[in-house]
């Protein structure tokens, strides 16, 4: 055997040298990355890449009416109070609060040194300005959200905000926990806030591209910044439901809050963490009892008997849903066990009632919805079975006519509110966002609500009074509750578990590994 010729040997030497340099480079980068890794375990690190189906309608929490998107605005805005795992109010921007003896005045004491992302101070005047805007701004979505009893606001000093109430109302600390209490910077105009948020939240907005994405970085001025361990948040909007699992699998995203029950199987197969997060969701068939023929109570009753909830849960919810007969899941504090199933599925009785109301051959009615979902199609088929020909129409501009209370028949759902009475008012109150007919239950309902508001949360009568208000609302409502599905999140295993606070996505204490 011959030795390789000299030129060849020099080639080997050269490649050995190259390999050595490469090795050294790898070692150096390894040192570098281990350096950042050790930093990540002590300080904040990692990027949360959050896939979102719908962007908030507005980055101004006063205008953005949609329930679940307050979890997106909560990145930038902190609220006066927070809720804990049990749904109780705990300190947020306000360190403490105190009621006067008869419950007609509540004083929130702010933390000292609070700052908005733009550097200006978050003081009592800013809080007052925010609530005045929420009550008076013409496009405010918060008018019907539990702030009606606030008659006037005093600011005796920089840290105390005094709410003077028109009636005893012990729900205020819960009402201001997220949706209603996200304090905005008074330095910004509503138009500016609409485009880009400015609050005192755990993150601050770097860029917001409408309809596409938004980028946030950790806000070092946040009062609880030491517990925010994520360095950056990227929100991706309008992510198609059919692509979200693949996106999570390939690492385009590492978190989504919008997994449909039919995709759980795919997400689990892809090795993702599927989290059933507690919440107060409930879907309903919104029958407008101000519009004929539903203004006839017998027709409304017929519709209530025509809905087969078991079929909805079985066919649409893929085993993750449960039957709903009230605007919250069973077991919730306001759930009235006496109304667990007031209108059991009975198509024969529905037909009989329709005949009695003068519609022996049924009738035809437009059924305008926001999206073509299996649930809408199923409801349409169930109504058809009793003779009601509901003509489905998918209208992308659905919200305009729905909130104007102009649709005779539609569907909607709630993701819940922190105050049970706020939830009731949203469904049954005349100004409630979900009340599709804009009529409330009259004197009996209003009296029950007033009584529940005036009951302290630690009173032995609290639950009883709230349930009485639920019963009063259900008595006359046109809303036919169908099913409730938990919030289904999917995340990459690199994202640690989220605090199990009902209906809230909270990033306090959450870490992201290896990025």
């Amino acid at each position: 055997m011959n030795l390789p010729p000299p030129p060849r040997r020099s080639l080997i030497r050269l490649s050995a040298a190259v390999a050595a340099v490469a090795l050294a480079a790898v070692a150096l980068t390894a040192c570098g990355s281990s350096g950042t890794a050790s930093k990540a375990s002590s300080g904040p690190g990692g990027t949360l890449k959050w896939a979102v189906a719908n962007a908030p309608a507005s980055w101004d929490p006063v205008v953005d009416g949609s329930g679940f998107s307050f979890n997106y605005t909560a990145l930038a805005y902190d609220s006066l109070t927070h809720t804990n795992e049990k749904g109780k109010a705990v300190p947020g921007l306000a360190e403490s609060w105190k009621y006067n003896p008869d419950g007609t005045q509540v004083t929130f004491h702010l933390r000292s040194g609070l700052k908005f992302a733009d550097g200006s101070a978050l003081d009592a005047a800013a809080v007052k300005a925010y609530f005045q805007r929420a009550q008076t701004q013409t496009n405010s979505a918060l008018v019907g959200e539990g702030i009606a009893p606030i008659e006037s606001i005093d600011t005796p000093n920089r840290l105390d905000v005094v709410f003077n109430l028109s009636q005893p109302d012990y729900q205020i600390p819960l009402v201001v926990a997220q949706r209603v209490g996200q304090i905005t910077s008074p330095k910004k105009t509503p138009a500016q806030l609409n485009a880009s948020p400015d609050g005192a939240g755990p993150f601050k907005a770097v860029s917001v591209v409408p309809g596409s994405h938004a980028t946030f970085v950790r806000n070092p001025n946040y009062w609880d910044a030491k517990n925010i361990r994520i360095a950056k948040v990227e929100l991706y909007f309008n992510v198609d439901a059919t692509t979200v699992v693949s996106g999570l699998q390939t690492g385009v995203y590492n978190f989504t809050d919008e997994l449909s029950p039919s995709q759980v199987k795919a997400a689990k197969a892809a090795g993702l963490d599927v989290v059933l997060h507690p919440g107060f969701n409930a879907n309903n068939l919104s029958v407008n009892r101000a519009i004929a023929p539903f203004d006839n109570p017998t027709v409304l009753e017929a519709v209530k008997y025509a809905i087969n909830r078991d079929q909805i849960v079985k066919q649409v919810d893929f085993g993750y849903g449960t039957v709903a007969t009230q605007p919250f899941p069973k077991g919730y504090i306001a759930y009235d066990p006496d109304h667990s199933d007031p209108y059991p599925y009975n198509p024969a009785k529905a037909k009989e009632l329709l005949a009695k109301a003068g519609y022996p051959n049924g009738f035809s009615v437009p059924f305008v919805v926001s999206a073509d979902t299996p649930e809408n199609e199923l409801l349409q088929a169930q109504l058809k079975a009793v003779g009601i020909d509901a003509t489905l129409k998918v209208d992308t501009n659905w919200s305009t006519s729905f909130f104007a209370k102009k649709l005779p028949l539609s569907t909607y759902g709630t993701t819940g509110r922190d105050s049970p009475i706020q939830t009731l008012q949203a469904h049954f109150g005349a100004k409630g966002a979900l009340n599709s007919s804009g009529i409330d239950g009259g004197d009996a309902y209003q009296a029950a609500i007033a009584k529940a508001l005036a009951t302290p949360l630690d009173s032995p009568d609290y639950q009883k009074n709230i349930q009485a208000a639920t019963a009063a609302g259900l008595e006359t409502t046109g809303l036919v509750f169908t099913d409730t599905v938990p919030n289904i999140f999917a995340k990459s295993t690199s994202v640690s578990d989220l605090p199990k606070i009902p209906a809230k996505i909270t990033w306090t204490g959450v870490t992201i590994r290896g990025s």
Partner: protein
Amino acid sequence: MLSRLVRLPSFWVAAVILLLVLLLGVFGDVLAPSNPLKGSSEVLAAPSLAHPLGTDYLGRDVLSRILAGSPVSVLGAIEVAGIALVVGSIPGLLSVYLGRAFEWLTLRIIDTLIALPFLVFAVAMTALLGNGINQAMLSVGILLAPVFYRVARAAALQVSSSPYVEAATLSGASASWVLRRHILPKVLAPLGISAAGAAGTGLVIVASLTFLGIGVQPPAPTWGGILASDLGYLDYQPYAPVFPIVLIVLTVLALNLLADVLRDASGQSGRVMLKKRALRRAAKKRRRSSAPIPQRAGELT
């Protein structure tokens, strides 16, 4: 022309597929074995004897839904081609005869239409005119009209300057007589080719629009709509999108084949091609009849 067509094998393939699709288009509703809107508790079931193509997310029979969805898809495609043909070819022919002002105006309108994208325009039109299949098809038909305008105009220009047409005009023939007697027969073949192509394009657009939920309201079935809803349940029925896709692809393939054979069989080039084929076949036959002798000689050696 027909006698030439029937000699092309691809004509028969296209004709058989299109006849079947047309049957579906006309009798789809009647042929559906069960009610396409009636759900059952067997959700997302695999194909079985009772449901040859399985069931969808509400337990409805997929075969019945595809059959019942055929009329909208097929008739929609025909509607598109028809609208485009009428809206495009008539001004196309007239542009040669109605003077410079009309010519200039129609040419500019057609140029504008070419610049508009189909789907976006159709989506905008349905938003404007209401979400219905006819509104969508009307807008798509108008956007396809430039094809017919150009084909009709090119053919008419060619014929109108030929000596025999000039002779007829000089002898006092009216424009409408010339159009009917001399021009129309010449432009029919190219228009037929374009119509077959347009119907194929139309079907794809109908399917795309219904996939996007435009033109048809749920729960009415359409091929595109069935495909769109299947995508939500890929993990349960990965094979489901195949059924509507095969139908769409086959129909478009047949329409394109038809356009091809129409082109091949029409005009001078078609005659030449068919003649060449006949000659080749004859030569092959002759070779076969003369071949046996050397073959046998080869076997012997």
